[in-house]
């Protein structure tokens, strides 16, 4: 099993925009192409936003390259979360202000798993990479001269 940590970041509400940019770059370098890359960032944002809103105001996001997929785990110190937090059906557009974020994250992810109890929530999402890279992608490298953004 190949597994490499690509990103490890603690966050509060003020860090969410920066976290999205880091996720975008890391996912690009890992080989996740558009439009899945933007969907990945949106899904992770919904889970991190949930941690900020309901999980004690802060959390930790870690991203791995794992066997042909990007795996993102978001943890927080809140009251915990169960599968029941994800609505079985999408709320009607004209009803209610919340409840769509985790539903959308589940829709967009190839796999989403919720665990954790009193010690806080643990939400893990996976996005399959279309092409598995032989080498482990590194966070700090940027596109080489003349190379397009998509790698």
């Amino acid at each position: 099993m190949t597994c490499a940590l690509l990103l490890d970041m603690f966050f509060t509400a003020a860090d969410l925009a920066r976290l999205r940019r880091c996720l975008t770059d890391t996912a690009r370098l890992a080989g996740l192409a558009e439009p899945r890359r933007s969907e990945f960032v949106l899904a992770v944002h919904e889970v991190t936003g949930n941690a900020v809103q309901h999980g004690g105001g802060r959390g930790r996001a870690r991203l791995w390259y794992a066997d042909g997929a990007l795996r993102c785990r978001v943890t927080d110190d809140g009251p915990g979360l169960t599968d029941a937090a994800v609505p079985a059906a999408l709320p009607a557009p004209d009803f209610g202000e919340d409840g769509r974020g985790l539903w959308l994250a589940q829709e967009l992810s190839d796999r989403l798993h919720i665990a954790g109890g009193a010690g806080g929530a643990i939400v893990t999402m996976e996005f399959d990479l279309a092409v598995t890279r032989r080498d482990t992608p590194g966070w700090a490298s940027a596109a080489a001269p003349g190379e397009p953004a998509r790698r």
Binding site: D25, G101, A140, A143, P145, E147
Partner: protein
């Protein structure tokens, strides 16, 4: 500074854009160049940062890396370069627009020769004080550089410290640039015109109230018929903002039609969240951009 038709988030800058940026805070000042550089490196472009001459290149790099992430490899291979206006026009000691434009054309050609897609340059206008320039000459330069961008191989940000430039001068500079950037990445601004609301920047947890209020205001201001919600300059839209938008449109009984103009990702998000169930909603989806 009020947003208008040429306001844009730095994330949406492309080669060919000539942008005005502004700040009045020593932390905020590094955020726009950090994202500008990060995006350029990711797109295979060369990036030259001409920061405040009073700040060392290493400190500038560290301040940018703290916000945009490290880029040691890009710096080591010369894709990310820290320089100054003084160095750019060397051996000339006095700034002239002709000399500067000539050197920027050379640098663009050099970047292309090195294999990059183009060149993007960030210029902190602190150089005006450093080279003892008068503001009128700078204004003339800003208004006559259009040709530099025509090939769409070059992009530039001119960043003004509002503590150093009088409000009227900063506003004149803002208006004279084809693009005016939001002050900081991640913020959201709204601009209203007759029957339209234009949202610019990121719609997320922090900016959701502003997003919702702007759409609400546009719907309240209209007299029925139709209204345009233009999201073409929105870089990011959370499920919360998308849900608010759909809810407000679903409840906008006075309107026959609400047109939402947006990129493909936002259109897909809205469809995921039930856009098709709202009869008066028309999605005007823009072509995808990498």
């Amino acid at each position: 500074m009020q947003p208008d038709a040429h306001t844009l988030a730095v994330e949406q800058m492309r080669l060919g854009d000539h942008a005005f940026a502004h700040y009045a805070d020593d932390d905020v000042r590094w955020q726009v160049p950090a994202v500008f550089a990060q995006r350029g490196l990711g797109r295979g472009e060369k990036v030259i940062i001409m920061g405040d001459p009073a700040v060392s290149h290493d400190e500038a790099y560290q301040r940018m890396a703290a916000f945009g992430g490290p880029a040691e490899q890009a710096r080591a291979r010369g894709q990310l370069v820290f320089s100054s206006m003084r160095a750019l026009i060397h051996p000339d000691r006095t700034f002239t627009a002709r000399r500067q434009l000539s050197r920027l054309r050379e640098e663009t050609a050099q970047a292309r020769w090195e294999g990059y897609a183009g060149l993007r340059t960030f210029i902190d206008m602190a150089w005006v004080r450093d080279l003892d320039m008068d503001v009128d000459a700078v204004m003339r330069r800003e208004k006559t550089v259009g040709g530099l961008f025509a090939s769409r191989r070059y992009a530039e940000i001119c960043s003004y410290d509002r503590r150093d430039f009088a409000p009227g001068v900063a506003e004149d500079m803002r208006v004279s640039h084809p693009v005016a950037l939001l002050e900081r990445p991640g913020e959201l601004q709204a601009w209203h015109s007759a029957g339209e609301v234009h949202l610019i920047g990121d719609g997320d947890l922090l900016t959701r109230p502003r997003f919702r209020d702007a759409v609400q205001a546009a719907l309240a201001a209209g007299a029925g018929g139709w209204v345009l919600v233009n999201l073409s300059r929105v870089c990011f839209m959370s499920a919360g903002c998308a849900g608010d938008l759909l809810r407000l449109i679903a409840q906008a009984d006075g309107y026959d039609k609400v047109v939402v103009r947006c990129a493909g990702l936002h259109a897909r998000t809205l469809r995921h969240l039930g856009a098709a169930r709202i009869g008066r909603l028309v999605l005007d989806e823009l072509p995808e951009e990498e």
